[in-house]
């Protein structure tokens, strides 16, 4: 089948979307952006293709009369099983790389001890891996770097203490290896992994309830469908460095505008808060951009800011919002300078302010900055859509709703759980259009 791919290479995350000829989204994929842009783009689009397979499974099983509740359960199990396989594979790679790092003068006296420690850490990581992918388990993030990293840190602290070797040394081995590992292109062999995953699921529960269909056969059939990458459009941060040729690049402003229009056709104003930029975009009834404004060279108040805060508090990014939601007396925070965020936080904690109040204040100040960019682009006139990574943060959303109401009254505010993909969605649609205009066009 024909698929159109949109890739949004952001400063923090890289997103990919696959749409079909009917403009239906069939797959979404995301990964952390890294220093190797081509790899980031490849990983994201592979993730999107994996997701597309699940969509196709669902379609096929549905056609076979599967009940949706049962289907969800089965597909969930399949996906967890698949993810676990993927995780273990990368973990193997990481272990190998880590072991290779243990050499040279820094390890002179402790080489063996460190190696043993690494073996021990990875043994533990493998052991606990299934629990990370158990039903209902909460992961700190969806990216290998973060999941493996946080677990590695936790285990390493233990192991280091037991083995009486410096924790810093173990940390450093990890830091050195992770870039290498994540910059290696994905290993491929997807179909096999699906088969293995399926086998595991079936082994665990052979009486999978998915209607009358023969599950393995249906899955095999769907795996045979060729997901042709008919046309690809890339967008995102520093488009000059994107690993695509010029005809395959669109401005992220345009992509965000169009993406938001596709999700919510009545949207006239789009706010996107990304890692290091905030954009306010006004679009017309066709999704065409009328005006846009971005933050200037100061990255204060952008998404990365929350990252610094999370690091400072030793929390996962997902956890900030919920904590801030506990506050009903947000502190007034004036500086949103990302770099000094940590200092400000400490300052206030030492003055006895509560963590949740400070956090709530921080969220508010981010939103205030964003709203002033919106105001610069022409304000909010009717339906409003909030996109970008920060839209996943409930505290930011709460403040946004408040501030919009205070300043622009009652307007419809759209926030899609998948809003992080807005730019990629627009790009995919541009890809579809480009293909229609010049059918000979092929992917980059």
């Amino acid at each position: 089948m024909k698929t159109y791919v949109g890739i949004d290479l952001g400063s923090t995350t890289t997103k990919a979307i696959l749409i079909d000829e009917d403009r239906a989204v069939i797959g979404r994929g995301i990964t952390n952006s890294r220093s190797n842009y081509s790899t980031a783009a490849r990983v994201a689009s592979e993730e999107a293709r994996i997701d597309a397979r699940f969509t196709l499974f669902r379609r096929a099983l549905n056609a076979g009369g599967g009940k949706s509740g049962e289907l969800d359960e089965f597909l969930g199990a399949l996906e967890r099983s698949f993810r676990l396989l993927q995780f273990l594979e990368q973990l193997g790679d990481l272990e190998e790389t880590c072991r290779g790092q243990v050499k040279g003068e820094r390890f002179a006296k402790v080489e063996d001890a460190v190696r043993e420690a690494i073996v021990e850490i990875f043994k533990r990581l493998r052991e606990e891996a299934p629990s990370l992918y158990a039903p209902g388990a909460k992961r700190k993030s969806d990216f290998f770097r973060d999941i493996a990293g946080s677990r590695y840190h936790a285990q390493a602290e233990d192991v280091a203490r037991a083995a009486a070797i410096p924790y810093e040394l173990l940390l450093n081995v990890y830091d050195k290896s992770i870039i290498e590992v994540e910059n290696r292109p994905p290993s491929g062999g997807l179909s096999d992994k699906f088969r293995q995953a399926l086998a595991r699921v079936l082994a665990a529960d052979s009486a999978v309830k998915t209607g009358s269909t023969d599950v393995p056969k249906t899955i095999e059939k769907t795996l045979d469908i060729d997901l042709e990458e008919t046309y690809l459009v890339g967008t995102g941060y520093g488009r000059v460095t994107l690993p695509f040729s010029k005809e395959h690049i669109r401005s992220e402003i345009l992509c965000h505008g169009l993406g938001a229009h596709m999700m919510y056709p009545n949207t006239r104003t789009v706010l996107d808060i990304g890692g290091q930029d905030t954009k306010g975009i006004q679009i017309d009834a066709n999704g065409i951009v009328e005006n846009f404004q971005m933050n200037d060279r100061c990255a204060a108040g952008c998404g990365r800011y929350l990252g610094y805060i999370a690091d400072e508090m030793n929390m996962g990014l997902h956890e900030l919002g919920p904590l801030a939601m506990k506050s009903n007396r947000p502190a007034r925070i004036n500086s949103t300078c990302t770099v000094f965020a940590g200092a400000e936080l400490r300052d206030r904690l030492s003055l006895g302010e509560k963590r949740e109040d400070i956090l709530a204040g921080l969220h508010r100040s981010i939103i205030l900055r964003a709203i002033s960019i919106i105001s610069r682009s022409g304000g909010v006139t009717s339906e409003f859509t909030f996109t970008g990574g920060v839209a996943k943060n409930e505290a930011a959303v709460r403040e946004l709703k408040k501030v919009i109401k205070e300043n622009y009254g009652d307007v419809t505010i759209n926030i899609d759980p998948e809003s992080i993909y807005t730019g990629a969605l627009g790009a995919a649609e541009f890809a579809r259009r480009a293909h229609l205009e010049q059918p000979e066009g092929r992917a980059a």
Binding site: R239, L254, D284, V289, N291
Partner: protein, 437 residues
């Protein structure tokens, strides 16, 4: 702010030089030689600013006109300004303030070497015609502290209400008569001769006529000139030390002839890479350019087929296209009116009117604002200008940020990103318009 570009920066070698370019280069070279030869010739030097530049008057006293703003531009184009700015910061200037001043002060601290590689002379008099910008006042106070020379303040009131009142011109004429002229006489030892001034003013007006023709040639499609990047070359002589000279008259008549030829041949503007390709976007630009990455910046436009058909920066040394000419029949009043009328001395509503008119008269696709970190005079309020112009013309505007001469504030990737988004947006709107039609 300001102008005047010359030697060095080297365009594509195989471009044939037009007569005007050759002439301008000669004029500038001769001027810098005259300045750096002052120790031999014994001529006296008057430092002053571009907006409100009283060249006709200065020439009446046989003084050589030295423009620190132009020197800062030269340093920017030569990529020395970054080091100069840093030097000024090292000797105690804040990172926050106008880098034009700092480039000048840093250049002084580093030996004051001019564009021709020779030492620039110390000024004998600072003519602080403080027009359109408060920073000028501090700038010359700083120079005065350094050179301890005679400093003459000419205060130009601001056109806050959008008009020039009699009180304003009376005040300025009185200052000219009773402060500026007597002091210039004293410094130079030359007696003021009003007929000489009249003669100079007459010459100014002639060159001004030709300049206006050149700038307005951009109304043609395709435009034969780029009124921002190219415009900076065109305004050099008249905003600098040549207004009121025969050289300027020659330069502008050559230039005008060349532009008329281009129109006849249906050609677009000259760029550093030769003739520009197809004209795809016509823009009006507000704000000064960036000089440290001038070529790179310009290229982002002509590579995309964007040509600037009108700019406000080409009006900082006088707004001639709205009708003002130096008038030999009322020599002092005309100088006053000239100062009062420069672009940055105009109130914000006046600036908005001007830009909106340019967008319509030059049939531009949109407005681009290059907001300069250094320049509060230009920049404070540009976001309102943008809104208002969009509202009035219905044409899209875009906003980019850089600095005149501080390379730290030129982020190529950032600017390119915005420009491309902007061009794609114009394109998309056109396509949308076509689809709707």
């Amino acid at each position: 702010m300001t102008i005047i570009v010359t030697p060095k920066a080297g365009p594509a070698k195989d471009i044939e030089k037009d007569a005007s370019m050759v002439k301008q280069k000669e004029m500038m070279a001769a001027h810098y030689d005259r300045l750096t030869n002052v120790p031999q010739t014994g001529e006296k030097v008057c430092a002053t600013f571009v907006p409100g530049n009283l060249n006709e008057l200065i020439m009446c006293f046989d003084l050589v006109n030295n423009l620190p703003e132009v020197n800062a531009i030269q340093s920017g184009l030569r990529r020395q300004s970054g080091a100069y700015v840093l030097e000024a910061e090292k000797i105690g200037h804040s990172e926050d303030v106008c880098t034009y001043v700092k480039s000048d002060i840093g250049m002084m601290a580093k030996g004051n070497i001019g564009p021709n590689g020779k030492k620039m002379p110390d000024p004998d008099v600072l003519l602080l015609s403080y027009t359109g910008c408060f920073t000028f006042m501090k700038w010359f106070e700083l120079l005065r502290e350094q050179y301890k020379c005679e400093t003459i303040m000419l205060h130009t009131p601001y056109m806050g209400d959008g008009k020039i009142t009699k009180n304003m011109t009376d005040y300025m004429v009185k200052q000219l008569k009773e402060e500026v002229i007597p002091k210039l006489e004293r410094v130079s030892g030359v007696k003021f001769d009003i007929d000489r001034l009249r003669e100079n003013l007459k010459k100014s007006a002639r060159a001004e006529d030709d300049l206006v023709r050149v700038l307005q040639s951009a109304k043609h499609k395709p435009s034969p000139i780029d009124a921002y990047f190219g415009g900076i070359y065109y305004i050099g002589p008249i905003f600098g030390a040549f207004r009121g000279t025969d050289d300027a008259i020659d330069y502008y008549s050559f230039l005008r002839a060349e532009v008329e030829e281009r129109i006849a041949a249906g050609k677009g503007p000259v760029t550093p890479d030769g003739d520009m390709g197809k004209e795809k976007y016509r823009l009006v630009v507000e704000g000064p350019p960036n000089y440290t990455n001038f070529r790179q910046f310009w290229k982002m436009f002509y590579d995309e087929g964007a040509v600037v058909v009108a700019s406000t920066y080409s009006k900082v040394g006088g707004v001639y296209d709205l009708g003002f000419r130096h008038d030999p029949d009322k020599p002092l009043e005309t100088l006053a009116e000239y100062c009062l009328g420069v672009y940055t001395n105009r109130s914000l509503p006046m600036r908005i009117d001007m830009i909106a008119n340019y967008l319509n008269e030059y049939e531009a696709d949109g407005l681009l604002i290059n907001s300069i970190k250094s320049c509060n005079s230009f920049s404070a309020g540009q976001l309102l200008i943008m809104r208002e112009v969009e509202k009035r013309t219905g044409k899209p505007a875009a906003f980019i940020e850089s600095d005149l001469v501080d390379p730290r504030y030129f982020s190529a990737a950032n600017i390119k990103n915005r420009l491309e988004s902007y061009f794609q947006m114009i394109e998309q709107k056109r396509a949308g318009g076509r689809a709707a039609a």
